[in-house]
Amino acid sequence: MDSLLKIENLHINYGSIKALKGISLEVNPGEIVTILGANGAGKSTLLRSISGLIPVTEGDIFFYNKSLKNMEAYRIVIDGISHVPEGRRVFATLSVEENLNLGAFNRRGDRQLISERRERAYNLFPILKERKRQLAGTLSGGEQQMLAIGRGLMSDPKLLLLDEPSLGLAPILVKQIFQIIKEINEQKVAILLVEQNAKKALSISHRGYVLETGNITLSGLSSELKNNKKVQEAYLGGAALKNK
């Protein structure tokens, strides 16, 4: 097995609600994989179960062939998976720099390493350097998203989980964010991307899965999915516009 992340027959129940009903997928090293799906299809649930925020009901999740099933969220980050949650979730009353520092919390003793990684984040998002002393809550939406991604990279992950990184951003920023996701991927970070903006997501990703009410109904190369009739109808055409 040379996949980075391998999910087998994953079930997630919230009480009596079945959010995921036995899904299997893989992410290989260096890949960008997109998860498409409507609201409530279970996309965020999938990411949250990988990062250990919600317990696995049945099935298993392997990272480097090691099960993450009963591992606590903070351990999973240390192992190399970083989750940038939906809605950015920056720590509003902490400064930009403190937010970044926390991204590498378990290496907090190593000042040099932290400052190197911070510089890397500043190279990716120069605006953050200008605002490093500002409270994160005073940043614009786009800047907060950049901070959330920059913070997620501070732990030097092998796999980055991105939940709706373009949500609520102006079109010009959306373009920029996707450009940066590509750049991050070029630095050998695999990415599992959940996105409403299916067109953009498929244009930068290698492969994709379509999630519908807790099941994977379709999967393939992004180029194939882009030309798939069902995908075009549901996520690239009229239905997608209706969602807006």
Partner: protein, 303 residues
């Protein structure tokens, strides 16, 4: 004039006791959203531990360490003892019922308070005890015609030093940032690799440790201690927490000092009999007109 200066100093001294206790309420509330009603009893416990070391072991403490050294030793013992008790209470009384919501934990905190209070009574007896004069440093200074006890200055300096250290840890270190982050958004904090159990351990050790230290200070300053004193001090420190803005450490510090000064001025210029009335009047007024406290809302940072 002389009276005012002396009373201000007295007020600040009492206020610093309130501040030290208030920090524990505030840190625990910030991270756990729990009002730890047992907190006042950690303070009492510390006071009794200090008493045991100093008065019951006078020969040892004061002959080997001197009066000042004995005082510091008593504070350390109280800090460690109360800190340990804090961790135990969290494990036994709070942790098992977190999943049931916030209210049951508050009730459990009240239960823990009663339990600790009564345990102290069983161990040390129901009658008040006294830090006897031979263990209390006493050195009167004459500054510009003011008679000031050096002990008071030392106590004030120590309180401010402890608050300064805490402020530094919480506001300037990455570990402190992790505590503030956990207070804001525990789930996202976990995604940063922050182990919430470590944070909880830290606040439930440190808050009571500061309270226990204040317990020794009160014992040395007022001499008399009783097993129920945690209730009164706890309630006043809680008022200080509300006054400053609960959940942030600057608020707890400032709230305690203001309350101490108000209490002193009130008892000097109005009547000693009403001093508790001032304190709780402040609580009521703050709750009515500024429920977020002085440093609540925007400026404040939840710890």
């Amino acid at each position: 004039m002389k009276l005012i200066v002396e009373q201000l100093l007295n007020g600040l001294t009492i206020g610093s006791f309130y501040s030290l206790i208030a920090l524990g309420y505030s840190m625990v509330y910030g991270v756990m959203k729990l009002i730890n009603f047992a907190h006042g009893d950690f303070f009492t416990f510390g006071s009794y531990l200090g008493y045991t070391l100093l008065v019951m072991g006078t020969a040892f403490a004061t002959s080997t360490l001197g009066v000042w050294g004995g005082m510091i030793a008593a504070m350390l013992v109280a800090a460690i003892g109360s800190g340990t008790l804090g961790i135990l209470v969290e494990r036994i009384a709070y942790r098992p019922i977190y999943p049931t919501g916030r209210l049951p934990a508050v009730v459990s905190a009240l239960g823990a308070s009663i339990f600790i209070q009564n345990s102290i009574m069983v161990i040390w007896g129901a009658r008040p005890h006294a830090y006897t004069s031979e263990v209390v440093p006493d050195y009167i200074m004459n500054i510009f015609g003011l008679r000031i006890n050096l002990l008071q200055i030392i106590i004030l300096a120590l309180s401010f030093f402890l608050m300064g250290v805490l402020y530094y840890v919480i506001q300037k270190t990455t570990f402190g940032a992790a505590i503030r982050a956990s207070a804001l958004d525990r789930e996202t904090a976990a995604l940063m690799g922050i182990n919430i159990k470590l944070i909880i351990f830290f606040i439930f050790a440190l808050g009571p440790a500061l309270g226990g230290t204040a317990g020794v200070m009160v014992g040395i300053y007022y001499r008399k201690i009783s097993f129920i004193m945690g209730w009164n001090y706890g309630l006043k420190a809680f008022t200080a927490t509300i006054l400053g803005g609960i959940g942030n450490i600057h608020g707890a510090m400032i709230g305690g000092l203001i309350l101490g000064v108000l209490e002193m001025l009130g008892s000097t210029y109005v009547s000693t009999a009403y001093k508790d009335v001032f304190v709780f009047l402040v609580l009521i007024l703050v709750l009515i007109f500024r429920p977020t406290g002085i440093l609540g809302e925007k400026i404040a940072e939840k710890v």
